[in-house]
């Protein structure tokens, strides 16, 4: 009896000790970063997807050895609005002792969050906001993997001029464009960049430029009635939420016939909710975003292809659907952070910064097709951040441009009558 007790005690001790050793040498090698996302409030639905993208990629990173040889873990903060973003950033820094913060999905949040991080000299790694002011503040600790909003406007006009105009049998300078946008810094940044390029480079005719507050616009008919009289070929509409659904539905009601509608970003027309709301009635709008169905993975570099497949599978397993734009912004953004950390071997700002600046990867290196070349202001070069035009076709947003990157093709050019888009 006593021998058995003794054996049991020894066994328990050995087990406990080996567990303790494992804890010291294995799991205690964790590296924690702060993740800020809007998880409650009006931006929560996309903020949660963005966080999902991070979590899926974090697990893939940990399967591949973690960061700097340590297991990557998150301390998550809820950035409902700019005030909460700043205070949560401060909390992550002071309570969770993180040296790097990443996030924040929205252009309304990244300014405040990065400002708070830079006050404490913490690295701020943005993967999705596109506010053009973000990298114009001379902050040395702030980096952005995603394009800036002016790049969105640039790509949209590129698509209109190079892909749409000749299919309408028109020259770019014959096109009449109506610009409509929600009035946040995101909407304004994209729209102003598009207006400038459309006018200066291609001589397109701007027939209207309207801004509205997306949270309190309950009726678009006055704008639609006005636009109908101006008879634009293209409606360049940056929408934010259900304003996309409302504008599209009411345009149909008013029988407003334009040749194409172009949007940019993961909100509004770029949100999966647009398809859920309208199904086949939502056929036609173009969305500049991360690649979706139709995307040729073979266009990527070899190691990115493998990671892309694993990422897509993991997202599908977790959510039951193809990765959305928010997933495809967060995932590769986090992967790039891993590459930088592995190269710098530290999170001290100066060596980290030189590691970022020394990165030089061609287009197709990241799983969403991005390349990497950062400028001194902490911005990944717009021409390396390859973007894609997607189109709503029967409830699905499919990749249609550039054509060399996709198996799908744009339809309804120009858009026919409202009931003829099946």
């Amino acid at each position: 009896m006593s021998r058995r007790f003794f054996a049991l005690t020894v066994a328990t001790l050995v087990l406990g000790l080996s567990g303790w050793i494992a804890a010291v040498h294995g799991q205690s090698g964790e590296y924690k970063i702060g993740v800020l996302e809007p998880l409650t409030g009006p931006l929560a639905f996309e903020g949660k997807r963005h966080l999902e993208g991070y979590e899926v990629m974090r697990d893939l990173i940990n399967e591949r050895g973690g960061v700097m040889g340590k297991k990557l873990v998150f301390a998550v903060g809820d950035a409902t609005d700019p005030t909460a973003a700043a205070s949560e950033a401060a909390r992550l820094i002071s309570r969770e002792n993180v040296k790097i913060i990443t996030g924040t999905y929205s252009s309304t949040l990244c300014g405040a969050a990065s400002e708070a991080a830079s006050r404490q000299n913490v690295i701020y790694w943005e993967t999705s906001c596109v506010d053009p002011r973000f990298n114009k503040r001379g902050l040395k600790n702030v980096f952005r993997t995603e394009i800036d909003g002016t790049g969105f406007g640039w790509y949209n006009v590129e698509f209109i001029a190079k892909h749409l105009s000749h299919r309408f049998n028109m020259r770019p300078n014959q096109l009449k464009v109506a610009f409509l946008s929600e009035d946040s810094s995101y909407g304004q940044g994209v729209t102003e960049a598009a207006r400038a390029r459309a006018k200066q480079e291609f001589g397109m005719q701007e027939v209207a430029a309207e801004y509205y507050a997306f949270a309190s616009t309950n009726d678009f008919t006055p704008i639609i009635v006005k636009f109908k009289q101006l008879n634009p070929d293209i409606v360049h509409h940056i929408a934010r939420g259900n304003d996309a659904v409302l504008f599209w539905r009411q345009s149909r009601e008013q029988n407003f016939g334009f040749k194409a509608l172009v949007h940019a970003g993961a909100t509004g027309y770029g949100s999966p909710d647009f398809g859920k709301a309208l199904a086949a009635d939502g056929n036609g709008p173009f969305v500049l975003a991360e690649p979706g169905p139709g995307f040729k993975v073979e266009g990527l570099k070899a190691d990115a292809q493998k990671l892309e497949r694993d990422f897509t599978d993991a997202v599908k397993k977790r959510t039951g659907t193809e990765p959305y734009a928010s997933h495809r912004l967060a995932g590769p953004g986090l992967w790039l952070l891993k590459l930088v950390l592995d190269q710098a071997k530290t999170d001290d700002l100066d060596p980290f910064r030189s590691a970022v600046m020394s990165m030089d990867l061609p287009v197709g290196s990241m799983i969403n097709g991005w390349g990497v070349k950062f400028a001194e202001n902490g911005q990944n070069a717009n021409e390396r951040v390859q973007h894609y035009m997607l189109q709503w076709q029967n409830g699905q947003m499919v990749t249609v441009w550039p054509e060399e990157f996709t198996t799908m093709r744009a339809k309804w050019i120009p858009l026919g009558a409202w009931d003829q888009r099946k």
Binding site: D183, A215, T217, N218, T221, I223, R252, E253
Partner: protein, 304 residues
Amino acid sequence: MDPARRLGPAQIDVVAQLGVSTLLLGGIYALIAVGLTLIFGIMRVVNFAHGEFLMLGMYLAFWSFTLWGLDPYFVLFVAIPIFFVVGLLTYVLVMKGVIHASHNVQIFTTVGLSTALQNVALVLWTGDFRFVRPWHSSVVLRIGSTAFNLSQVVAFIIAVALTVALFAFMRWTHTGRVMRATAQDRDAATLMGIDTDRIYRLTFALGIAAVGTAGVLVSPLYSVYPTAGLQFVLLSYVVVVLGGLGDMVGALIGSLIVAAVEVIGSYIFGTAWKEVFYFVLFILVLVFRPAGLFGQRGAENLGV
């Protein structure tokens, strides 16, 4: 070239369409504002959680449609008793305790209730935008060159009917008279043997039933999400102030005025200006006619 300055048949079409849009949008605003003006007028309580009951009505329509395929117009009949009970419960559990407290306490309480309800919805149903798509939501009626959305026409008709019914109830029934008496002088009403607590309970329940119904009716038109109420609630305060506190017909006319300012302002000057216009109107009314455009002087202090 300003499209508003062109003349001719096209211009007549534009005016007609803007008129129709004003009526239909005004109908939606009226639907939301009558419940608010009722609670405001009788109880003297500014219910900041009003928009959240609208949101709950929208979710009721959404789940009934998604789970059981019930048309919102059918759900309407169920919504009235459900929200009446919700109103009763809210009164007993929350409002009863603060009804005699200062306005500040009441404001803090209803703002707290508003935030709590938004977050309950967020926890239970996530922040996703949801949509109710019954067959009639995409039916468009065309008369001449003007277009009417069927769901919006129905919402407008019900808004008018609801306003008239509440007006008649307040004017010609015994309970309505008792409610007005309570609004005019709570103490005197108590001395006359009126159970003011019962009247407040009834008023609150009626107001919530009205806004819950409104939520069901607007669900085919707008996305359903936890903060959907905020999209409309600020406007309802403008409407209620314009129309005079507690004045049902005033609320209807106030809604049409706000909708007209919004539609015409958006058309002529651009959407960015619409809130400037109706809040300037709001301030002017508060300064020069604090009882509302149609109320009697002094009614803002006394009651209906």
